[in-house]
Amino acid sequence: MLEREAKILSLAGLSGEDVNQLFRQALDKNLEILAELLELVEDDEQPF
């Protein structure tokens, strides 16, 4: 995971532990939001 986040951040020209940590914290929070969002999304018509 560390390597992957470093790759994304290097595309933006960023590096360093502080920015990696910010990224990780944001990812954790965004995963919580994702779970919440799933409850709001309406299913398309499903054949079951």
Binding site: L9, G13, L27, N30, L31, L38
Partner: protein
């Protein structure tokens, strides 16, 4: 530091149709104000040596009304910095659609106004072009991200400001600076030629000293120009005003709460009917907006910066990092959830004509504040500024902030009125009536 802004410019509404209206003289006075005050307030990033205007402007409907344009709108031959060091040497090769329309219809653009870097923030403390300060108190922020346009209007540096609003960036500085700020229905004003923050949430908006100028300019920009005599308020008699019982009024600065209640009472006395409404899932709408806007901003800036994100101001850089950490599934499901949230929101307009909320939870905060205490709770100035405005960017609904009194220290407070999508002119005519009622009661 605390003072009322000295706007000596006679209100446009009174002058515009009279023989005494002399736009060139007005421009000269406005340039003098810019010369005297811009070094302190940092409202403009670029002041044009003379207004960009068509020679036949006198025969056109806008008749030389002057505009300060947020520095994200391209104007051919002039710099567009977006408030960033990264673009400091860039000159635009084309003109944004709304600016072209303003010039074609007789408007005069006198410069490009200051903003939060890349419109990605709400304080307008810009590390590269200076903090844009509040016209009522220079120890406080103007609000952002269209704060430069709000300050320029408040101080009489121009007649009308052009801004963009992705979470509240027109309405928040309007509330903090004591002017009117209008964000129309999503898509009503073209974002073509505007540096984006979030293409799904960006709205072009108008800032002005009173609702009258906003109606005139909006009608021109959407191609249905109104003559001054046709700009009339709607009656407040039996108008159904929705007062939210959830979310919007949960946590308010005491003075904001008092001004809001006083405003509602004034409207009730004028015959309006107050209806309590619940806006279902509104807190989820706010989070959904945030996911979409942050992901889109990160995608845009990954390309724009081409590895130079370290040259951004730290707050904006950190927001872009947060956007980079949004999983694709979160972004896509936020877009899908939007449909349901919009449908839920629109139901409220079966019961009411317009929704009213305080524009912000607080009056303008101090430049050095990152958090504010309300009712014993510490919240970020970002939340205190944007909480009540950002859901309407997700909903795409028209919303306007109008001045609704001041704190005992003299800081302005704004009330936000929101209408259903597509009913912008009705909302504006209601706002004109509300403004008149507030002025009469003050």
């Amino acid at each position: 530091m605390m003072s009322s802004p000295s706007n000596h410019m006679p209100p446009l509404r009174r002058l515009f149709s009279s023989r005494n209206y002399n736009p060139e003289e007005r421009w000269r006075k406005q340039y003098r104000v810019i010369e005297e005050k811009n070094d302190v307030f940092r409202a403009y990033i670029t002041v044009f040596p003379k207004p960009v205007v068509e020679s036949s402007f006198r025969k056109k409907i806008l008749r030389g009304i002057s505009f300060g344009v947020k520095d994200v709108f391209h104007i051919k031959g002039y710099p567009t910095t977006a408030g960033s060091k990264l673009l400091s040497n860039m000159v635009s090769s084309r003109t944004a659609a709304v600016v072209s329309r303003i010039i074609e219809t007789g408007g005069a653009v006198n410069g490009k106004t200051n903003l939060h870097e890349f419109a990605f923030g709400v304080s307008n403390i810009n590390p590269f072009y200076g903090a844009c300060l509040n016209p009522f108190d220079t120890s406080r922020v103007s609000g952002g991200s269209s704060g430069g346009s709000a300050v320029a209007v408040a101080l009489g540096m121009c007649d009308v400001g052009l801004g963009t609003d992705t979470a509240g960036s027109v309405r928040v500085p309007a509330a903090f600076c004591g002017v009117v700020g209008f964000k129309p229905t999503s898509g009503h004003l073209s974002t073509d030629g505007v540096i984006p923050l979030s293409w799904s949430m960006d709205h072009v908006g108008i800032l002005s000293r009173s609702v009258w100028e906003t109606i005139l300019v909006y009608s021109v920009l959407v191609g249905k120009p109104l003559k001054p005599a046709e700009i009339r308020p709607l009656s407040l008699e039996r108008l159904r005003i929705g007062v939210p019982s959830n979310y919007f009024l949960d946590l308010l600065d005491r003075h904001v709460e008092e001004a809001f209640e006083k405003g509602l009472k004034t409207l009730e006395q004028k015959g309006a009917v107050l209806e309590e409404v619940v806006v279902e899932n509104v807190e989820k709408a706010a989070r959904c907006r945030s996911v979409i806007a942050f992901a889109e901003a990160a995608a845009y800036h990954l390309r724009l910066s081409r590895g130079r994100l370290s040259e951004y101001g730290q707050d904006v850089r950190d927001r872009i990092v947060r956007g980079l950490a949004i999983p694709a599934a979160a972004y896509l499901n936020a877009l899908r959830a939007r449909k349901k949230l919009v449908r839920e929101f629109e139901k409220i307009f079966t019961k009411i004509d317009v929704l009213a909320t305080p524009t912000t939870l607080i009056p303008a905060h101090r430049v050095d504040e990152e958090n504010v205490e309300i009712e014993g709770r510490l919240i970020s100035v970002r939340e205190a500024s944007l909480k009540n405005t950002e859901p309407f960017n997700l909903y795409g609904a028209p919303a306007i902030s109008i001045p609704a009194g001041n704190t005992p220290q003299g800081l302005p407070i704004g009330i936000q009125l929101v209408g259903p999508r597509g009913e912008d002119m009705k909302l504006l005519r209601i706002a004109l009536a509300v403004e008149k009622a507030f002025t009469a009661s003050s």
